[in-house]
Amino acid sequence: MMITEILLSGFGGQGLLRLGKILAWAALKESKYTVWFPSYGGEMRGGTAHCFVKISDKPINSPLVEKSDIAIILNQPSLDKFEKTLKTKGLLVLNSDLVQRAPFRRDIRKGIYPLNRIARECGTIKVANTVALGALIALQSSLLGPETIMVVLKEMFGHNKKIFEQNLEAFYRGQKLVHG
């Protein structure tokens, strides 16, 4: 793996910026180079909030992403905005609960799951982002190890047992969506 460019996008409040930080933290733990870059300020209610993460074995020069290898998309406006910026053979993880159409792209890999429903089953809709993370790590096992992600979840949410356990369950359920 040389460099993986990841886009994460959804409604403000769905935790996409946080999800990007989890990926960046995990990358650092695996001694990889990483850059996280958020959308900031100019967002509006009902629109999208997004961030980019780069993970690489080598130092990263440009912090910007034009086309991504992976897109995690949790709502319809994000699909409309970013479907076209995925590279050919890229991976799309999509939340079927909040989109009204199937992706147009035929040249990409797709993981389409009812992330909101699974998250609710884990105790709160707020962990839909972590369900997506579980699915991503299962679909693209070369990106980051699941053990590393669990260490990061522990560090990030360990101070609150309930939140930590919901996230752990969400991460597990996300992986199970792929592995069955």
């Binding site: 930080k21 960046a24 933290w25 650092l28 733990k29 001694s31 180079y33 990483t34 850059v35 996280w36 870059f37 958020p38 900031y40 300020g41 100019g42 990263i60 020069n61 440009s62 912090p63 910007l64 034009e66 990061v152 560090e155």
Partner: protein, 364 residues
């Protein structure tokens, strides 16, 4: 603050922080104990970080009623010897210029961080490098300069913020850290050194306001009404700017060995120019990057040093052409081409490659 890596990893003791947060932490590590600021995107995380951390360190944080108030609070804190800082973004920096001029006139150390956004006027909140003229030509009224340091990574933003405090105290001058929205907002791994690496000895501040039993009172002022007094003061300042110009030029090179073509960029744009250099080298175009770290003083000595073997010079900025004027002043008679975008536009690696190759083709 981000996670710590294990000591045995190839990136020991690295932590993840955004540029804004990292510059805040660097200031605190450098001994900054006074911060005043007024919120503005894209540097709000820096102000928020200082609000949270300075109180823990026994320092003073003030959210001022305006940018003008903030810079004058820094003026006051500096008068009594505190390492003081303010930060803002482009529109807010315009408001601070009166205070910066007074700091320079009074020879007061202070650090001012500008995380640049699009202009003129309120502009937008996207990355920009359009405050180069304002930063490198004083910015306020009167004959003065301020050292200007331009980081191109989160780690360098840490180093340069710490260096800014040492330069400010050593030369008794306000120092600008000129970052941009990309550097402020991006998060990457970095380590926090305990010192800036500045080698010169910084003398105790015996000029501060207040009277002790050991010395009489001192006066801090920029008003000199007596005939000839201001000219004398200006002359002394001139000698100081000359000293800084000689001693504090800093720059970095990337793949300039055997280069016939050189791209000149700073800040986040230099990151992107690095990608362009790699692409050009892969296509057997002998390109390299010259990256100014100090924008004032402009690193003309090292630029002139490498220019002999260079056929063409390409300046790339997130502006309509500002630093390019310093390049022209440094390299008279050289063929210099400019590529720039304004208003949040960032010249991409592909655009740079296309530009460089088209100019080379036209010359042949």
């Amino acid at each position: 603050m981000g996670p710590k890596t294990k000591a045995k990893s190839k990136m020991p003791d690295k932590i993840l922080m955004t540029g804004n947060e990292a510059m805040g932490e660097a200031a605190i590590q450098a001994g900054c104990r006074f911060y005043a600021g007024y919120p503005i995107t894209p540097q709000n995380e820096l102000t928020a970080y200082m609000a949270r951390r300075l109180n823990q360190e026994g320092g003073v944080f003030i959210q001022a009623e305006s940018e003008l108030a903030a810079i004058n609070m820094v003026f006051g804190a500096s008068c009594v010897g505190s390492r003081a800082m303010t930060s803002s973004s482009s529109p807010g920096m315009s408001l601070k210029q009166e205070g910066i001029s007074y700091l320079a006139g009074c020879e007061l150390p202070a650090v001012i961080i500008n995380v640049m956004r699009g202009g003129p006027g309120l502009g937008n909140i996207a990355s920009s490098q359009a405050d180069y003229f304002q930063a490198t030509r004083g910015g306020g009224h009167g004959d003065y300069f301020t050292p200007v340091l331009a980081p191109f990574s989160v780690e360098e933003a840490v180093h340069l913020t710490m260096l800014a405090f040492d330069l400010a105290d050593y030369y008794r001058t306000p120092v600008l850290v000129l970052a941009d929205a990309i550097i402020g907002q991006m998060m990457e791994a970095m380590s926090l050194p305990s010192k800036s690496g500045f080698k010169k000895k910084i003398l105790p501040k015996n000029w501060t306001l207040g009277r002790t039993q050991k010395r009489s009172s001192s006066i801090v002022r920029s008003l000199f009404l007596k005939e000839g007094a201001l000219e004398e003061h200006n002359e002394r300042l001139r000698k100081k700017w000359e000293r800084i110009r000689r001693a504090e030029q800093r720059s970095a090179l990337y793949r300039t060995e055997g280069a016939k073509y050189i791209i000149i960029s700073y800040g986040s744009q230099a990151r992107i120019a690095t990608v362009a250099v790699d692409i050009l080298r892969n296509q057997n175009v002998k390109a390299g990057l010259f990256r100014p770290i100090t924008l004032w003083p402009y690193p003309e000595r090292s630029l002139v040093g490498i220019a002999d073997k260079i056929d063409m010079v390409f300046v790339v900025e997130q502006s309509l052409g500002q630093m390019v004027e310093d390049v022209r002043l440094s390299l008279p008679g050289k063929k210099i081409s400019f590529l720039g975008r304004a208003g949040g536009g960032v010249p991409t690696a592909k655009e740079i490659v296309r530009f460089v190759k088209s100019k080379i083709a036209r010359k042949r």
